[in-house]
Amino acid sequence: MLDWIKDNSTAFAIAVVFHVLFLVALLVNWQMDKPDKIILEQGDIIQVSAVDANSYDAEVKKIEQQKNAEQRKKAQAKRKAQELAKKKKQEEIRKKKEKQRKADELKRKKAADVKKKKEALKKAEQEKKRKKEAEKKKIAEEKLKKEKLKKEQLKKEQLKKAEQEKRRLEKQKKQQQAEQKRKAEADKKRQAELKRKEQRDRAERERRSKGIINRHVVLIVQKIERNWRQPLDVPSGLECKIEIILLPSGNVVSVKIVESSGNQAFDRSVETAVRKASPLPVPTDSVIFKEFEVMRLRFEPGSN
């Protein structure tokens, strides 16, 4: 075995190198698994290149193994043949002695040369291949490195961003609080202003509604007086008090005699006057109308 290794040292070395590389690749790939997942979210290119590297390595390894086995088989067969030939030749040597041995030697030398040449070529090729592989691997590694860096950078950036966001939020919060405080103060101020305005408005409204009430009282009195026909022989000094209920339309809903004059015809004239005057000119404002919903009227015949 050792001999075989000695004989095929180059191939063995290549195999070992490839194994190591393969392992490293595998390890790296395995290590990368996790970050890969993170990266997945970042972009497809990185993932695709990583997978390519993987599959490529496996391919190389396979080819290498196949080659090795073939070589081994070949070597074994050759050795057996050589041993057989050796034994035959030992007799032949004896027969042909040196001559044949020299020829064999020459032949073997030639074969070894060819083999050497072939192996050198093979080695060069393999070297080339290895170099290429290494190159590729390097690129991949660099790529990975770059990606890792990128990832880290990204992570850093994200962290930074998060930090910034946090700071921004805090700032915002502070600003908001300040704003709220300012707003609350403004509100308070505005409310106070509003309250004052309302008071002023109410006073104004009251003043105005008082004016409206007075105006409508005059209108109502005039309309009832226009409609108040008294009986001809009304004695003087009569007085009748009634309570009326009005609708917002001014229509008289009910007339109740609160205090009779004692003269029924006169009382009736009062009631009729109100009904005749219906609808009474009440204010249209529903709030002010409330004042007119129930009215007390005192009737006294005028001096005519």
Binding site: R229, Q230, R275, M295, R298, F299, G302
Partner: protein
């Protein structure tokens, strides 16, 4: 400690309760405060505008009596009402359901009278009427009558009374009678014919009580409205008679020597005051009808005449010229006769005569002379205020309606006597009664019919 605990436990409820009370209280106060109190002075006085729609009639053609127009004229004559004329009526509904109230609100009427007349066979008629308040849409009176044809006019007057009573709160006096004397000139004999007649208060449905070629004077109603007393000269001298209207039976009351005149029935119907000159001078006497016993009330050399009873039967007023010119005097009376000395009541002007009491006894209606014209005046006894009602030239024989709201009197129109009625408050112009043919004099308004 127990007490404190209890207080603590009760406190929240109390608080809630008090707050509730406060809320309720404040609402109440607000409401009480919210009631507007308004004073209305003025207005105007006028006759009551009323709409009387022609009544429907069940048969084709014209109804035997236009009840609506009788009511309308009755109410107008009272002076208290001013019924809308036919062309002022926006529609002629005869059933409540067909009244379009908004249209009536545009007239100045306050009340609306509708009705139906139907012939129900055997010469009988059904009359239904209803009065509605235009502004409430409510029916205020509703009546149904069933009468013979000759009573249709009376039904109309009764409806007038219902309306009058409802709207003035005073009894109406439309379903009453008047008695009067008509003087006609007979074309053939060129002699005067005197007629004592009775008619409805509007002058229609005249019935003749007595016809004579000699003067008939001073008709007066018995308090129960069933008899008339009057003076007739049919025997060429003045005699006081009493006549029952229904039977036409009559009785001679006074045919003393000299003047027998101016009968006046006491409110209890048992005595008759009159003017007699059997003792030489015109004096006032009271006769107890049943016994014929006479009591002399006045004793004065001047003329005392035209006695009239106070509604309480405790005094008489009469006309006397004992102060030089005719004036009204009052004398107290009891069952035995005079119970006091005559007191003068009138001082306005130099002629006041023919007084009679208002049903409430508070005033007198009389003829007063003003600027040479004889007019109807009302003297309020408490204040001695004399209000002149008429503007005519020659009024005579005023008498109150039984409700005291109107005065009936005779006046002169182009040399002929006519009857007029006027509202006592003097706010309305005189209303002429149906113009009768001839010269109408000495009207007397009957008491309420029973």
């Amino acid at each position: 400690m127990q007490y404190t605990k209890l207080t603590i436990r009760v406190a929240p409820f109390l608080l809630f309760f008090f707050s509730l009370l406060f809320v309720i209280n404040s609402v109440f106060v607000n409401q009480a405060h919210a009631v507007l109190e308004v004073e209305i002075k003025g207005g105007f006085q006028s006759a009551d505008p009323i709409a009387i729609v022609p009544f429907s009639w069940s048969q084709s053609g014209k109804a035997p009596v236009d009840i609506a127009s009788i009511i309308s004229r009755d109410l107008a004559r009272s002076g208290v009402f001013s019924p809308l004329s036919l062309n002022q009526l926006p529609e002629h509904p005869t059933m409540e359901g067909s009244i379009n109230f908004p249209r009536w609100k545009n007239t100045n009427a306050e009340n609306l009278v509708i009705g139906q007349v139907a012939a129900i066979g055997q010469g009988r008629f059904e009359i239904k009427f209803k009065m509605l308040d235009i502004f409430t849409g409510k029916s205020s009176i509703e009546y149904r009558y069933e009468v013979a044809q000759k009573q249709l006019r009376r039904v109309a007057h009764q409806i007038s009374d219902q309306i009058y009573q409802k709207l003035t709160h005073t009894k109406g006096a439309f379903d009453t009678l008047i008695a009067y004397v008509v003087v006609n000139n007979d074309v053939d004999s060129k002699k005067r014919i005197y007629t004592l007649a009775v008619a409805d208060s509007d002058g229609y449905s005249e019935q003749i009580i007595l016809k004579s070629k000699k003067p008939i004077m001073s008709p007066i109603w018995s308090p129960n409205g069933k008899r008339l007393s009057y003076v007739s000269f049919e025997k060429n001298r003045s005699i006081i008679y009493m006549q029952e209207l229904k039977s036409g039976k009559r009785k001679t009351i006074a045919q003393f020597k000299g003047i027998n005149s101016a009968p006046a029935w006491s409110p209890d119907g048992k005595r008759l005051a009159m003017t007699l000159s059997k003792d030489g001078n015109s004096e006032i006497y009271v006769m107890h009808i049943a016994s014929g016993v006479l009591q002399r009330i006045t004793n004065h050399y001047s003329i005392d005449t035209e006695p009239a009873w106070a509604p309480d039967g405790r005094s008489l007023v009469f006309t006397s010229d004992r102060a030089g010119k005719p004036q009204i005097y009052q004398v107290a009376i009891n069952q035995q006769g005079r119970s006091g000395n005559p007191k003068r009541l009138t001082y306005d002007g130099n002629y006041n005569a023919g007084a009679s009491f208002s049903p409430d006894g508070k005033s007198l209606v009389l003829i007063t002379r003003e600027q040479g014209r004889f007019r109807v005046g009302v003297l309020e006894l408490a204040s001695r205020q004399l209000q002149i009602l008429t503007r005519s030239r020659l009024d005579e024989s005023p008498s109150f309606a039984p409700n005291g709201k109107m005065v009936l009197y005779a006046t002169e129109l182009s040399g002929r006597g006519i009857l007029e009625a006027i509202a006592v408050d003097g706010s309305h112009s005189p209303q002429r009664l149906r113009v009768l043919s001839g010269d109408v004099r000495e009207p007397a308004w009957s008491p309420y019919r029973r």
